[in-house]
């Protein structure tokens, strides 16, 4: 500690790298940036550029080719099942979240449910499709059990491999996701607000209609949008489950991408992919907006 007051120490030169700061600094982040540029930004650019490229130079032909009956149908089906599974998942998930949130915040139930939801929200793809085929497929456990009792759930055709089946299967990962997203919002509700309502003479209905409802609405809508984007982007589950008849957008893309179907058309696949990106981007922008609004009250 002798050096403490010594002026020489204060003016001692900085280590050498300090002299030439600029290059050394940025080199540290370069490997990551190059990697991301190659495997994330380049593919995105390929999609965007490819969607606007024709046989010779830039053209809108890929975009205008989207205006075909079966492709518009695919977009319609995608929007439909995403909306349906988002709404069903949001309502059911909110109820489940409320049932958990009203319990002991440090209890076993809450711990188990949130862990399980973390796992189940990840669950998807081939395994999930098989799980439902084993449950209510044509030789599924529940189907056979109901059949023995004279109930045929497939009396009007095997809807499991059609759009309604897809909605059902999607809710399996949508509900847990909703619980994960909505639980923090429910935790933000303070019991004092209910007490204040009651001291002003309001009942349960008034509380939900004028206090908790409006406070939770932005969080609920935001979470629903998130669920929508989640379902809209899903591919593997649909690929493993759905029959070829009425594809959704991701399936249509995969048909144009793989050459085995004989309709290999990368340009059209890129245009469809661009369409998906635009829709997801709009939804996520709205989500971010609602998120900001939610945080005003529920923190």
């Amino acid at each position: 500690m002798i050096a403490a007051g010594n002026p020489d120490v204060k003016t001692a030169r900085r280590p050498r790298e300090g002299g030439r700061r600029f290059p050394l600094h940025w080199i540290g982040a370069l490997p990551f940036l190059i990697y991301v540029a190659l495997f994330l930004l380049l593919p995105t650019a390929i999609v965007v550029v490819g969607a606007f490229a024709g046989k010779a130079g830039p053209s809108l032909s890929n975009i205008t080719d989207l205006n075909q009956g079966f492709l518009l149908n695919a977009f319609f089906s995608s929007l439909l099942i995403s909306t349906a599974s988002a709404v069903v998942g949001a309502v059911a998930g909110a109820l489940l979240a409320y049932a958990v949130a009203t319990g002991n915040p440090r209890g076993v139930l809450r711990r188990v449910v949130s862990s399980a939801c973390g796992v189940l929200a990840q669950f998807g793809g081939v395994t999930l499709a098989f799980a439902f085929i084993a449950t209510i497929g044509s030789v599924g456990f529940i189907r056979l059990w109901l059949q023995e009792r004279g109930i045929d759930i497939f009396a009007n055709g095997v809807w499991l491999t059609e759009l309604p089946g897809l909605v059902l299967v999607y809710t399996y990962f949508q509900i847990p996701l909703m619980v994960l997203v909505f639980l923090p919002a429910l935790d933000g509700i303070r019991p004092q607000w209910r007490e204040a309502t009651e001291s002003l003479g309001g009942g349960t209905w008034h509380y939900w209609r004028y206090v908790a409802g409006p406070l939770l609405a932005p969080a609920f809508l935001g979470a629903t949008l998130l669920l929508f984007a989640n379902a809209f982007s899903a591919y593997a589950t649909a690929a493993a489950l759905i029959s070829q008849g009425n594809p959704i957008v991701p399936i249509a893309i995969s048909n144009f991408l793989t050459s085995e179907t004989g309709r290999n058309n990368p340009g059209l696949a890129q245009a469809l992919a661009l369409g998906m990106v635009v829709i997801v981007a709009i939804v996520m922008a709205l989500y971010a907006l609602l998120q900001r609004r939610t945080s005003r009250w529920l923190r």
């Binding site: 994330l40 999609v47 973390g118 990840q122 084993a134 593997a236």
Partner: protein, 277 residues
């Protein structure tokens, strides 16, 4: 709370939890049931579907490949992300926002879109470099980026990176020592989190492998399902159990200690949102 209201609430909770439990447990139970069925109607329960797993060499190969992919992806992710995040925290704080944005970007771009963009890149790599399934790791690192970033960021926020590194540097440690012998051991649970999430994600991945025409575990299960439903469902159950165990371990190692307030990013997308769907 009045007594009547408390009772009503309890009834509501029990009903919702029982229905929810049934909805989530029955399909998993049904898979077990299906995988132990005998060949004929009324045949006794059998483990045949499980024991025949080992008689499919393609399947075993796919399991091996998927485990290899999971390992390569985890290591690649750590090597790429950890030094960058530490470096950015210490020396380039200006870049933190951009790095975070880039890491969370894969959540908003649907996997199928990335495949469309990556397929020319992969065709080029398969022709000009080597054509092996392990090339998929390049894409998988991007896929696990958001989850790994969240886990590592939580770990880094819980320790005082600056003080640790200054202390180490003032004792003469080089940057390599700072990163791998000072900071990394202090965030082991975050590293474990990031790795387990990566492994779980890679083992469940179907979209990339299927569309880039590589046979990983999920693609093989899917194709096997067309020929032998029992065995393919048995493998599904096994892989599911494996992923469950990984994720349960993860939830018991606990959320890393958080000192800093929850993130305030524009993209507040929950980590669980983008599984292998």
């Amino acid at each position: 709370m009045t007594r009547a209201r408390r009772l009503r609430l309890q009834v509501f909770r029990v009903i919702v939890l029982v229905l929810g439990g049934a909805f989530f447990l029955v399909p998993i139970g049904a898979m077990f049931e299906f995988s132990t069925r005998g060949n004929r109607v009324g045949a006794p329960r059998t483990l045949e579907a499980w024991t025949t797993i080992v008689t499919y060499p393609d399947l075993l190969g796919a399991i091996r490949d998927s485990l290899g992919l999971a390992t390569i992806t985890s290591v690649g992710m750590l090597v790429l992300l950890l030094p960058t995040m530490i470096w950015v925290r210490l020396r380039l704080p200006r870049l933190k926002r951009s790095i975070e944005f880039l890491c969370l970007l894969p959540l908003t771009i649907p996997a199928i879109v990335l495949v469309v963009g990556l397929s020319p890149v992969y065709r080029w790599m398969a022709i000009n470099l080597v054509d092996t399934i392990f090339l998929l790791s390049f894409a998988y690192v991007i896929l696990v980026l958001p989850f790994a970033y969240r886990a590592l960021d939580a770990g880094l926020s819980a320790i005082d990176v600056k003080t640790l590194s200054e202390a180490a540097r003032s004792l003469g440690a080089g940057w390599g020592t700072v990163m791998f012998r000072v900071i990394a051991p202090n965030m082991s649970s975050a590293l474990l989190n990031a790795c387990l999430l990566s492994v779980a994600l890679v083992l469940g991945e179907f979209t990339f492998a299927n569309l880039l025409s590589y046979l990983n575990l999920q693609v093989e299960i899917f194709q096997l399902g067309l020929a032998n439903a029992g065995t393919s469902i048995a493998v599904s159950v096994a892989s599911l159990m494996f992923a469950f165990i990984l994720l349960v371990i993860l939830s018991f190692f606990g959320r890393p200690r958080r000192r800093v307030a929850p993130e305030r990013t524009g993209l507040a997308y929950p980590s669980a949102a983008a599984g292998p769907k």
